[in-house]
Symmetry: C2
Subunit: 419 residues, 2 copies
């Protein structure tokens, strides 16, 4: 048991559930001034103001032997959940960034060995140890921004062995809680036809990653030139039979009806949603719809339109934000930049951004019972920051996290890097 | 005398001067592998490869007593010059950011006490000591990104006393070399007419800041609703008589012909240049034209078009980049983000971005004889970074400066903050 004191303001979504059991996201964040948190076995046992704490001290079993941790008058927020990353990869596509900016066409870049297949080649060629070291340093970069739960996808192996290798690397990562997602159907490998590759996925890799529990979830990229809704339907069916949770890359470049298809299979989340019509927006507002994961940094780097976050929120959808960190279309790990884009270009309020990066993204991973807000019974995962909350997700490059706690333990602070 | 060794690659613009004496900016950055720099009295005395160094060691007067500093196999670049900031201010406009994003009009924000005049009120109300502390922490934020020369403007005082107060604060800042700019004609204060205020500027403040050398340069905001080209002409004339260097905010929101007007008065730089026609672009490409200072983060936050950097460079203009850091239209100090925007949305190559943030911005402050490249005789100001250069100005939030040297002395490193 630990008692955290000297908390200037403890901010969190107040989980007011509506009649469908959903948490309303459009409300302001609540806060408790001069707060105290009592942690026990990694969970929040009690949370309230200092004066309430003093009154219930004895009832809580806090004695003179209990460890007291001062948070030095900082403000706190629930730790962030980053729910969409492709952070296991080798190689580098900075040369391609330069070429694209100078007007070299995608075709020409592909001819010169660029594009996703260059990452596939580099990732296949790398040892698991090398991949792990690269991925672990990227995890550390997320942790110091306040992330204590992190999703990691495969999808640069594009063969049974290489996808398994990526998932093993993902499973081995230390620091935050890691959720792994099998994304075999990310692209079709150069050396095989789509149907050959899909056969391997359906008959070999998907069953194996489910059985060995290497993957928690199954993901697919439904897009013209990649996988179509029929592939999606077969894949979701199989994943569901195998007991895997479902997520999907949908409506990034064109409207394929992927979001609604994934919703049929009770997907946890549907991600990207740039090219989404009003009828689909309405359907994603329904009570059991998947979480809508919006990835504005990919839109920034691809110079696309931004998702209609305002319409989704107004329709009642649960929205999450994530970096989509990958070496091609979203080469950034900056939560701060994601949030600035969401506020400036997607009409999300600060409260909505914070809620999307805590509760929304936790729900996208099916973890909302355990995390996403500072609530009794949930994990004691929080970040301390020194500024007023209004200064978060405002200045690009300013994200003043001072320390990060996971299950009541210090995971990182800006003096003493523990990851 | 100091000898810097263990430099993996020493990158810098190679100063090839054209027949007009200008440095070509469109070329690739050159580099020396396994480089050595010999520093003496803050200047670069010698620069070359390790083997050349060994051959000329004796001729350079390097003895067994000479201090040898290992740069641990990092790459180095000339330190950055940040040539356009408004970093002396009090108050906070994060509330206004939220209102703007939620669709509250500028008029309504002004009515609620927002806009530039809210910064003026807060800055007038702050003591010089408080302003200095705020400004010094912002300077530190620039230094750790590799800035060793920094421009600081007044312009939130809008009265004789308050403008002088701001310039005194700017002059007192420690760490990098500071160039101060008087920007009395930034906006018209609420309590006076424009002509009353311009009289004070012309007859009182401008002469005083010139005489006391509180300001190195004079700046004006030429824009509809602010100051017009006639105000500009009178102001430039007076500034020139008083021996102040000239710079101007021009063509940010509309084409007023401000850039060409400033060029007539041999301005060092013309800044913003969003609304610039082809004829003016041609004129800014002429050999004696001012440096074109582009400020893409302001365009990002204001959701404007971006300046036509490609056209300016192709016309022969000298281009600089800067943050325009201020609490309203450009609330970011991120050099990294400026560079990513320049590459992604302004068609500048990586070499052009680095050159614009080193040579171009030094020239915008009239400092190109002393800094802006690693050249014998210039100041020994450089940064060390661990990644390959291709990874700079690419990932938003990734700007891996490991240490910063000014005049051969360590100014900052990521372990031991000296500012």
């Amino acid at each position: 048991m630990r008692v955290f004191v000297d908390i200037k303001k403890c901010y969190s979504l107040q989980e007011a559930h509506d009649s469908d059991g959903r948490v309303a996201q459009s409300e302001s964040l609540g806060f408790i001034e001069d707060a105290v948190i009592v942690e026990d076995q990694g969970l929040i046992r009690w949370l309230g103001s200092r004066s309430e704490f003093e009154a219930s001290r004895q009832a809580l079993g806090v004695s003179s032997n209990t460890e007291i941790v001062s948070l030095s008058g900082t403000n706190i927020l629930p730790a962030f959940t980053e729910c969409h990353t492709h952070l296991v990869f080798a190689g580098d596509r900075s040369d391609e960034f330069e070429m694209r900016n100078q007007g070299v066409s995608y075709q020409e870049i592909a001819k010169r060995g660029g594009g996703i297949l260059s990452t596939v080649n580099a990732t296949r060629g790398a040892s698991a140890e090398d991949l792990r070291a690269l991925a672990q340093s990227r995890v550390a970069e997320f942790v110091k921004q306040g992330v204590t739960a992190l999703e990691v996808k495969s999808g640069y192996g594009l063969s049974h062995e290489d996808e398994i290798k990526m998932l093993k690397v993902a499973r081995s990562l230390k620091g935050p809680k890691v959720v792994t997602t099998y994304l075999g159907p990310h692209s079709v490998p150069a050396e095989r036809s789509k149907s050959e590759y899909m056969q391997e996925i359906m008959n070999k890799t998907l069953p194996e990653v489910a059985k060995t529990r290497l993957a928690d979830r199954a993901d697919i990229f439904i897009e013209e030139g990649f996988f179509d809704p029929d592939d999606g339907r077969a894949y979701f069916q199989k994943a569901q039979e195998l007991g895997l949770q479902i997520t999907a890359h949908v409506e990034q470049l064109s409207d394929q009806g992927g979001a609604v298809l994934a919703a049929e299979f009770e997907a946890l989340s549907v991600d990207h949603l740039v090219e989404l019509g009003p009828e689909h927006i309405r359907q994603l507002g329904e009570s059991k719809a998947p979480v809508c994961v919006l990835l504005p940094t990919a839109d920034f780097y691809l110079k696309m339109a931004y998702p209609k976050a305002r319409d989704l929120l107004d329709a009642g959808a649960t929205v999450a934000l994530a970096t989509d960190f990958n070496p091609g279309s979203s080469p950034t790990q900056s939560l701060n930049f994601v949030g600035v884009l969401a506020r400036l270009l997607m009409k999300m309020s600060l409260s909505e951004v914070v809620t999307a990066y805590t509760y929304g993204s936790a729900k996208a991973l099916g973890l909302q019972a355990d995390r996403g807000s500072l609530t009794v019974g949930k994990v004691c995962d929080f970040i301390c920051f020194e500024t007023e909350i209004e200064n978060l997700f405002y200045q690009v490059g300013f994200h003043p996290v001072r320390s990060v706690y996971r299950e009541g333990e210090l995971l990182w602070n800006d003096k003493n890097k523990t990851v």
